[in-house]
């Protein structure tokens, strides 16, 4: 188990390094940051001045090494726009997005798992059809549209929930639900299909032959096997949630990293964008690592080769 986790961690590290190179290359080689900072209408001398001031005239490899060295110590430079350390800008926004994504994932799991279980237990029943239809609708409805609809109904008409902001728990309910609804279909479909397959397995018949009752069979013997692929997809979904939060945070004016990303991109605040991509990627890698380890714990065939 430890060896397995260690192997995965090393792989994650390698992925992180690759991503950091890509991020640096995209922001420093593919575009000229000096031009972006100097702004529209700047003369060639202005651009050259910026280039020298920020050190853009030095070799790329040297700049990358320096940047990476700082980055691993949490130093991402200064935000051009806010003139504050990038790390602080990102860090103060991170909890909002993290809370939002966790709540959204929790919401979609709470909806998808029971629905998938009942659907698989009684295939082609009313509840199965309802589950399939729900997944189809959730798939088809764009997040921004659902968010606006949610605001109209729950905030404007009924007045139950606040329209925007991220200052208290109630502010999270509507955005988390909208975001979670978007992640739900994949989890629902995969769990349902997995359970349907697992319920046909020989070991389920063995469990019944022992006299075990249906709830025990479903939860102990079927769900644990069916959930293994779901863990992987849920971690991927969590990544989608992070990116989906750009839309939701913007609509609900929540001060998270999604909103920050939108602000920074529109004002060419390069260090912040770099840090955001890197942090999101890091988080994503961490999540995949966590999913791999969880799966190894769930499935001894992964753990004990």
């Amino acid at each position: 188990m430890m060896v397995y986790a260690l192997k995965r961690a090393v792989l994650g590290l390698a992925i992180m390094l690759t991503i950091s190179m890509a991020v640096f290359a995209l922001t420093n080689i593919a575009s000229d940051p000096a031009i972006a900072i100097a702004g529209e209408g700047a003369t060639a001398t202005d651009v050259e001045a910026v280039r020298q001031r920020y050190g853009f005239d030095r070799p790329v490899v040297e700049r990358y090494a320096e940047w990476l060295g700082h980055a691993v110590r949490g130093d991402f430079g200064m935000s051009y726009r806010q003139q504050r350390p990038v790390a602080r800008v990102v860090l103060e926004r991170f909890p909002v997005t993290f809370t939002l994504a966790c709540l959204a994932l929790g919401f979609s799991l709470a909806l998808a798992l029971p629905l998938a279980m009942f659907a698989a237990l009684w295939p082609n029943s009313m509840i199965d059809r309802f589950a399939v239809l729900t997944a189809l609708v959730a798939q088809a409805v764009p997040t921004f549209w659902l968010s606006l609809l949610g605001i109209l109904v729950f905030s404007v008409e009924l007045g139950w929930l606040p329209v925007s902001g991220s200052t208290s728990f109630v502010h999270y309910i509507l955005p988390a639900a909208c975001l979670g609804f978007f992640a739900m279909p994949a989890i629902l479909r995969l769990t349902r299909a997995g359970l349907l397959e697992v319920l046909e397995a020989d070991y389920i018949r063995t469990a019944r032959a022992k006299g075990l009752r249906t709830p025990t069979i479903l939860v102990k013997h079927a769900l644990r096997n069916a959930i293994i692929p779901v863990v992987s997809i849920a971690s991927v979904q969590f990544g989608y949630l992070l990116s989906g939060s750009v839309i939701v945070e913007t609509i609900f004016a929540m001060q998270g990293i999604g909103y920050l990303a939108w602000e920074s991109v529109s004002s060419a605040d390069l260090p912040v964008v770099q840090a955001l991509v890197l942090v999101t990627a890091f988080f994503y890698v961490l999540l995949t690592l966590f999913a791999d380890i969880l799966n190894a714990w769930l499935d001894p065939r992964i753990r004990i080769a």
Partner: protein
């Protein structure tokens, strides 16, 4: 004599939608006394598994069971709800399946799966009891270092070991009847023999009744007290093992006997004397003898009506219009 341990009366199993249904089991009846082995033999697809699952109450969702009664120890079980039936499964009757590789749950240890069977029917038992019982039975089925095995997962064991675990699992609550559906088909020949010997030893020790399902008459010869030869959903010949082997009456039984590989005589891996032709489709109503197309003794009359069972004495019967009666079987020598 007291009531037989298992009595099945006129069992039918139909699978699928009414318009395209498979009539897999077509009115079979049998009894098994305490401590006795009945073997149901027949080619693949003749309805053996459906018969065993019907007795266990484990038929697939699309299958329907009808009968004039299934009883254990004289008590009817055919009317029981699935919940009431689950109280008997594992406790009164247990099952061993064909595929040891997939019959155990890959994500739980052997110990967990053994103990769970015990605790299901002994909820008040002390914690250590289930474990002690598991170790005891693993040793009984010939697994060494039993207490270490409990912490292993199915994928760490070979097929033969897994089948031993399955047998131990079936015995956890001390059932009266074991239904073994092709328990050795997936195993190597040497392992097959070991498992069969094990089943026979356990039967003597625990006074078990066994319903042994197989397509291999060679296995039957070594284990069964009584034999029922099944063809296209029906029993075509029944009797004691001695009667069926020494004086097979039905042409199909003779065909199966001729197909038993004889050590020394049949080449290893060589072709067996298979019965030519194919099994009739079980979707249709069968007119005449179901073996008609493949039978070397057939006369035109055989294609008409339904061939009734001839039962000269209790338990001895055949379903044939031109049975072999006086002539002795040209059997190989698998039996002595």
């Amino acid at each position: 004599m007291t009531a037989p341990l298992l009595k099945v009366d006129d069992l039918h199993v139909r699978i699928g939608a009414r318009d395209r249904q498979v009539h897999a089991v077509r009115g079979i009846s049998f009894e098994i006394a305490r401590g006795e082995t009945l073997s149901i033999v027949g080619e693949s697809g003749c309805g053996k598994s459906m018969t065993s699952l019907a007795v266990m109450g484990l038929l697939p969702r699309t299958a329907r069971r009808e009968s004039h009664g299934i009883s254990i120890d004289g008590a009817r079980i055919d009317g029981l709800s699935d919940r009431a039936m689950s109280d008997l499964r594992g406790l009164k009757l247990a099952m061993i399946f064909q595929e040891p590789m997939t019959a155990l749950n890959p994500v739980y240890t052997i110990g967990n799966q053994l103990e769970e069977a015990y605790r299901r029917h002994n909820p008040a038992a002390a914690r250590g009891d289930a474990r002690a019982r598991a170790v005891y039975l693993l040793e009984k089925v010939g697994i060494t270092a039993a207490s270490e095995r409990l912490n292993q997962y199915p994928h760490q064991l070979s097929g033969g070991l897994r089948q031993r675990v399955m047998i131990a699992m079936a015995l956890m609550c001390g059932p009266d009847l074991i239904i073994a559906d092709e328990p050795t088909t997936a195993l190597d020949v040497t392992i097959q023999a070991q498992i069969l010997r094990l089943l026979r030893d356990l039967q003597t020790e625990f006074n078990l009744s066994i319903l042994l399902i197989t397509h291999d008459l060679g296995i039957v010869a070594r284990t069964a007290d009584k034999v029922a030869v099944m063809y296209a959903g029906e029993f075509v010949e029944t009797g004691t093992a001695r009667e069926v082997f020494n004086a097979p009456a039905h042409p199909y039984t003779r065909g199966l006997l001729a197909a038993i590989p004889v050590p020394g005589k049949t080449e290893r891996g060589g072709k067996l004397a298979a019965i030519p032709g194919t099994v009739p489709s079980l979707t249709d109503h069968l007119e005449g003898c179901s073996f008609f197309g493949r039978c070397s003794r057939a006369v035109p009359d055989c294609a008409l009506g339904h061939v009734a069972l001839t039962e000269p004495s209790a338990g001895r019967a055949w379903r044939c219009r031109r049975p072999y009666l006086e002539e002795a079987a040209h059997q190989g020598g698998a039996l002595s």
